[in-house]
């Protein structure tokens, strides 16, 4: 072959191999699963100020028995710029540097054995993100599942790594907002208004008291005045008629003498 260029001996097999590898490198399987906060059972602590609770990804990573399944927690704005080739346990994904400069960290390492399928009915299978407080400041534990530093919003997804290569990922979750805490001094303890009962008591008693006072005043003003007491219905047992009789008697006697 006069015009053919001398070729490297393995070049003939290498090109097809390269062609095969390229799709595999870009071909991280996109699983049809969206991580979500636990809805059943209803948990009072599904979101707190620094933790939240996710459903475990049961029956999702069935074909990846050899893979390590990691949870990626990212700030909402950093979610879509997350590079799947990031490695867990490195400073780029260390929890202790989250949220600045690390914008997404990887934690909660598990394998398929931790998420058996199907889920036994009645079991509560959840992942509590943020429950490890002991390693939160410990830089030697970059995959710590430490409490989240703020109310968010956050997004999460599960990433399966075989060796150090990502092989499968779930979709990003919806935005997760944690609870924002109000100051206790903002609680107002004044002015709930007065209940109807209290107003009724006050009004009625005031009216009654006013009537009694008026009655007392009337009594004192007309003390012993005959014009009002002319209807002498109540008489003292002995004294009244006798006194009147004496008065007439005193007047009569001088006239009689004369």
């Amino acid at each position: 072959r006069p015009h053919s260029r001398p070729r490297h001996p393995g070049a003939g097999t290498m090109l097809p191999l390269l062609l095969l590898l390229l799709p595999a490198a870009h071909g991280i399987a996109q699983l049809e699963y969206t991580p979500a906060l636990t809805q059943t059972p209803e948990l009072e602590g599904v979101t707190t100020a620094s933790t939240f609770v996710l459903d475990q990804p049961r029956c999702v990573f069935r074909e990846y028995g050899n893979a390590d399944i990691w949870l990626v927690v990212a700030l909402d704005q950093a979610a879509y710029t997350f590079n799947n080739s990031a490695r867990p346990g490195t400073p780029e994904t260390a929890f202790q540097d989250f949220p600045d400069p690390v914008r997404a960290y990887m934690t909660l390492n598990a394998t398929l054995a931790n998420y058996p399928c199907p889920k036994p009915a009645g079991d509560i299978t959840v992942l509590r993100v943020g429950s490890e407080t002991s390693c939160a400041q410990n830089a030697t534990r970059p995959t710590c599942n430490g409490p989240l530093p703020g109310p968010g919003p956050y997004r999460v997804k599960f990433l399966a790594l075989e060796g150090s290569e990502p092989v499968a990922e779930t979709a990003w979750s919806e935005q997760i907002m944690l609870r924002t805490v109000k100051s206790s001094s903002s609680i107002s303890t004044t002015g709930s208004g007065h209940s109807a009962g209290m107003i009724a008591i006050t009004t009625i008693l005031s009216i009654l008291f006013a009537i009694l006072l008026a009655g007392l005043v009337a009594m004192l003003v007309f003390w012993g005045s005959d014009s009002c007491g002319g209807s002498s219905t109540f008489s003292k047992p002995e004294s009244v008629t006798v006194r009147r009789y004496n008065t007439h008697h005193v007047y009569d006697q001088p006239a009689a003498r004369l």
Binding site: P41, L43, E44, G45, V46, T48, A49, S50, T51, V53, I124, V126, R128, G130, S131, E132, T133, G146, P147, R179, V181, K182, S183, S184, S185, I187, S188, T189, S192, G193, H194, S195, G197, M198, I201, T202, I204, L205, S206, L208, F209, I211, L212, L213, G215, L216, A218, M219, F222, G224, C228, G229, S231, S232, T233, F234, S235, K236, P237, V240
Partner: protein, 256 residues
């Protein structure tokens, strides 16, 4: 004359009966107020710590008013039977003074009850429960009272465990949110006083934590106290009003 004599006697009888009832009610009021003042219901540290005043002034006035009513009712009976103008005048004036005091007691008790809102206890609990440097003994008492309350009534917080999530608190300063979303006393405890399932309690799984608030347990006794003093006093005063009006009519009809 016989007919008006009968009227007089009936009216006198009614007034005597009215005064007897007042006397009995006076004793009952005194007994009730002594009971309230001395009753160790256990929530008194919380009420005292609210600095809103308490039920005690109204109850103390109630004790003395009750005794005064009893004494005056005896005076009234004597005055009616003897048809003595001076006695009855003294009776009426003293009764009016007692009426005024009891009125004050009723209104105070009713107003006090209105001030016992959930927000009042919520703020007190958040600011004082498990305060790390207790300013005075009453902070310790608040903590102990709340612990006992939550243990005995299987309740948590004022409105629920979310009280500890929605607001900052003295408790939150010393206990991290991840380890203690709410105090351990809110968990269902076993015989040794340890949570039956700590993870279940931290997650808030129904059955492992107490989900209802303690406000009903606090306000129940306080309600009984306040309404007991206020409404019973109100009833006595209404009856006293009628008897006093009758006495005034009787007095104005007595001839000198």
């Amino acid at each position: 004359m016989a007919k008006s004599d009968d009227c007089v006697h009936i009216f006198q009888g009614l007034l005597v009966f009215g005064n007897v009832v007042i006397g009995i009610c006076g004793i009952a009021l005194t007994a009730e107020c002594i009971y309230f003042v001395s009753n160790p219901h256990g929530v008194h540290p919380l009420l005292k710590a609210t600095e809103n005043g308490d039920i005690y002034p109204a109850a103390w006035i109630g004790i003395f008013v009750g005794l005064a009513l009893f004494a005056l009712s005896i005076l009234g009976i004597i005055g009616v039977i003897k048809a003595s103008r001076t006695l009855l005048l003294v009776y009426i004036i003293l009764m009016l003074i007692t009426f005024a005091f009891e009125m004050a007691s009723c209104i105070t008790a009713a107003t006090y009850r209105d001030s016992l809102t959930p927000e009042l206890f919520l703020k007190q609990m958040l600011e004082r429960y498990q305060k790390s440097e207790p300013a005075n003994n009453s902070d310790n008492e608040v903590t102990q009272t709340w612990d006992k309350l939550m243990l005995q009534n299987h309740c948590c917080g004022v409105l629920g465990p979310s009280d500890w999530q929605e607001y900052t608190s003295a408790f939150r300063l010393t206990h991290s949110d991840a380890d203690y979303p709410w105090p351990r006393k809110c968990c269902v405890l076993d015989a040794q006083g340890l949570p039956v399932n700590l993870d279940g309690c931290k997650l808030g799984v129904p059955g492992y934590y107490n989900s209802n608030g303690c406000y009903d347990a606090i306000s129940g006794p306080a309600n009984t106290h306040a309404w007991g003093v206020a409404w019973f006093g109100f009833a006595i005063l209404c009856w006293t009003f009628c008897v006093l009006l009758g006495t005034m009519f009787y007095w104005s009809g007595i001839e000198y």
